[in-house]
């Protein structure tokens, strides 16, 4: 809980990027998310914490409509991005996901070369005009994800041949290469060693200048280090949401208090 990079006045100027109101999620009959209200601020890192199975990933997947790919999953409520309802009929989830990128809990590199993995998003969205520009985007993304040094000599080799932690950084590079406005990261550091974790945290802090970042994490220290806002989930409920500093030093709810002090989880 040291190394707070945030100061209070930083937060004042931020606007709401995403507003969620009264969101409920059902998997068939399982009520996984119950009436959750959250604001994700622009240029801010928001962390979702809570015990396993409380619905952090589920809620995260609502924000870029990844839950659409699960047939039994049903989302109700209102989620707005820049004021527009993202579940509106006129919204194309494909375009939404290009703006709201995602890094998954388990690394999932494509069975392609490292280069093609990173170039995937820029190519399908036509973000680059020529090969030189693409090379530049790929290198920049790999550098930001701090995997350039390990990958630069084997760009044409399959991404699946990397180690688990390298694969996760590759997936992060792949997500930032698409230049999203919001980046959702589901436990991005769970497979990483402390050095790589520190680099990713640095990256997250950098990303804050251009995107807003939502990160799910099981590490209280990580949440405290990288985020300015924290949401605590428990059994599908959003128990407490507020400034990270406040949540970790002076939580209002007893359950939050118990969780961050390690009394249950």
């Amino acid at each position: 809980m040291t190394n707070m990079r945030m100061t209070e006045q930083d937060l004042g100027v931020r606007e709401n990027k995403i507003e969620a109101r009264g969101v409920d999620v059902f998997y068939a009959d399982t009520h996984a998310i119950k009436a959750v209200d959250v604001d994700i601020l622009d240029n801010t890192v928001t962390s979702f914490i809570g015990p396993s199975g409380c619905g952090k990933s589920t809620f995260l997947r609502c924000l870029n409509r990844m839950n659409d790919t699960i047939p039994i999953c049903r989302v109700t409520g209102d989620i707005r991005m820049d004021g527009n309802d993202i579940y509106d009929r006129s919204i194309d989830p494909v375009q939404l996901r290009a703006r709201v990128g995602m890094v998954f809990q388990k690394p999932n590199p494509f069975p392609k070369s490292i280069y093609d993995n990173v170039a995937y998003g820029p190519r399908i969205h036509g973000l680059v005009r020529d090969k030189a520009e693409l090379d530049e985007v790929v290198e920049k993304s790999l550098r930001k994800a701090s995997i350039w040094e390990e990958a630069k000599d084997r760009l044409d080799q399959p991404g699946t041949g990397l180690s688990g932690g390298q694969q996760q950084r590759l997936c992060i590079a792949r997500a930032i290469a698409t230049a999203p406005e919001v980046l959702l990261m589901d436990e991005p550091c769970s497979a990483l060693d402390p050095i790589a974790t520190a680099k990713i945290e640095e990256l997250i802090d950098d990303l804050r200048t251009s995107f807003s970042v939502v990160i799910v994490t099981h590490s209280m220290q990580q949440a405290a280090r990288v985020s300015q806002k924290t949401a605590f989930f428990h059994l599908g409920n959003l128990v407490e949401y507020g400034d990270t500093q406040k949540i970790f030093t002076n939580p209002e709810d007893q359950r939050t208090q118990d969780y961050i002090t390690g009394r249950f989880g």
């Binding site: 990844m66 939404l96 590199p109 995937y120 998003g121 399908i124 699946t160």
Partner: protein
């Protein structure tokens, strides 16, 4: 009778199984941990050996016995009636056998009666030994294995070794059968090449196929055994079939795995699999009676001349036949691509089509390639459809509207025709061998492709 003997041997084996098990329990003195092997393994060891020895002796007597009788009788006959021809001896033996078993011989004389008497006694001895020898061997083996039961007897290890040899035996049978088939193909092929004076080039590159029209004195006219038209026909029909089967099958698989709702999938996939179970004869007359006339009529209304049996008809129907193989196998491999890869692609803002084309299909490629090659193997080897719908004349053409013939059709015609089998077998076996080589090469290529991509993506 032989069935009963086999049952008896198995019964003896079962009895010794329980005897040995009981004895093992007995020597353990009620303390199972004294035994090296559990009683079950002592029983199993007895059972395996009794069954192996009993059945082995039975089969040996069965095969050797009748040959031995024949040899003995033939020796007798030669002594009494030297320098007859093979056919005369054959007749003699048949008559003797007929007399002995109360049939109708061609002639009765003293020699034949003497032989018949001899035959009857030998036959009796044979029947007796067929009964007694295997049973005796089984009982003896049983007794020996029963005596071996002891606290320190390593029955488990030994029983497992026996089982390993039984498995090895099965594998050896499978391999030997393959080798036998290949060798007989090679042998007949060499024979045929010898027959055409080693003009292998004429076979491989000749363009006239009419092998039986040029036979004289057992040798063939090398100018009439050119296999090119047949392979061209096979090639043409295979291409047409794959042009139908690969896109339709693959697209169906993609639809089923990634677009169809679970409900649609639940009935559509079994439907496709039923299609795979339709006998090819049915496809054949479907091609000949429905599709070929339809193509002909359509062609004529467009001012094209279409033969009533055409490569197109056979190829299209064959393609339909192959669709379920390709779609079913591809559907399985496409489904095996992990959902997390699709999620990764969707998460980057890719559409369904982009995801399938750029992530799912490349990941499933090895499986799809092997599905396609399997389909090609089927097309190349398919017979019934082409026999009925493609024609019989060995035309050298690449026009799909004309009648062509294929390798398999010609093999059928050679073997089922009224030419003597020994003459027709040569070209038929040679065609079969060539076809075998082609499919083998295809399979090897398929394996290579698959392995290459496996390395890349695993």
């Amino acid at each position: 009778m032989p069935g009963l003997i086999i049952l008896a041997i198995l019964a003896i084996a079962a009895v010794f199984f329980s005897l040995s098990r009981a004895r093992a329990l007995n020597v353990s003195g009620g303390q199972l941990s004294n035994l090296h092997s559990r009683p079950f393994y002592h029983g199993l060891y007895s059972l395996l050996w009794v069954a192996i020895i009993g059945l082995g002796v039975f089969l040996t007597v069965l095969f050797l016995g009748s040959n031995l009788i024949n040899m003995l009788l033939l020796g007798e006959a030669r002594e009494a009636f030297p320098d007859g021809s093979t056919i005369e001896y054959q007749l003699l033996m048949n008559d003797a056998r007929a007399i002995a078993s109360g049939g109708i011989p061609s002639r009765v004389d003293t020699l034949r009666e003497a032989l018949a008497g001899k035959y009857a006694t030998l036959e009796n001895i044979y029947a007796m030994s067929l009964l007694i020898l295997p049973a005796a061997a089984a009982l003896l083996t049983g007794a020996v294995t029963l005596r071996q039961v002891d606290v320190n007897w390593r029955a488990r290890n030994r029983a497992e070794r026996v089982i390993r040899f039984i498995l090895l035996g099965a594998a050896v049978i499978a391999v030997l059968t393959t080798i036998g088939i290949v060798l007989s193909l090679i042998f007949e092929t060499l024979n045929f090449f010898n027959n055409i004076g080693w003009r292998v080039d004429k076979y491989l590159f000749g363009t006239r196929w009419s092998p039986l029209s040029g036979v004289h004195d057992g040798s063939m006219d090398a100018d009439k055994v050119g296999a090119i038209p047949l392979f061209a026909g096979t090639f043409l029909i295979t291409i047409i079939a794959m042009l139908v089967a690969v896109p339709v099958g693959l697209f169906a698989a993609i639809y089923l795995s990634d677009y169809a709702s679970p409900k649609v999938r639940a009935w559509a996939k079994p439907m496709l699999e039923i299609l795979a179970g339709v006998p090819t004869v049915v496809y054949g007359f479907f091609a000949a009676i429905t599709v070929a006339p339809f193509i002909r009529r359509t062609g004529e209304s467009l001012g094209l001349s279409v033969a009533s049996e055409s490569a197109l008809a056979a190829g299209v129907v064959m393609g339909i036949m192959i669709i379920p193989f390709i779609s079913s196998l591809s559907d399985d491999v496409i489904n095996a691509v992990p959902q997390s890869l699709r999620d990764g692609s969707y998460g980057l803002g890719a559409t369904k089509a982009e995801t399938i084309r750029q992530v799912v299909l490349p990941a499933a490629l090895p499986g799809i390639v092997s599905a396609v090659l399997l389909g090609i193997s089927r097309a190349v080897g398919e017979t019934m459809i082409v026999v009925m719908a493609a024609g019989q004349g060995a035309n050298l053409t690449l026009n799909p509207l004309e009648a062509v013939t294929t390798v398999t059709v010609q093999i059928v015609m050679l073997i089922t025709g009224d030419t003597e089998a020994s003459t027709a077998a040569g070209p038929a076996f040679t065609l079969g061998f060539t076809l075998f080589c082609i499919t083998l090469v295809l399979n090897v290529i398929a394996l290579r492709v698959v392995r290459k991509y496996r390395e890349l993506y695993d």
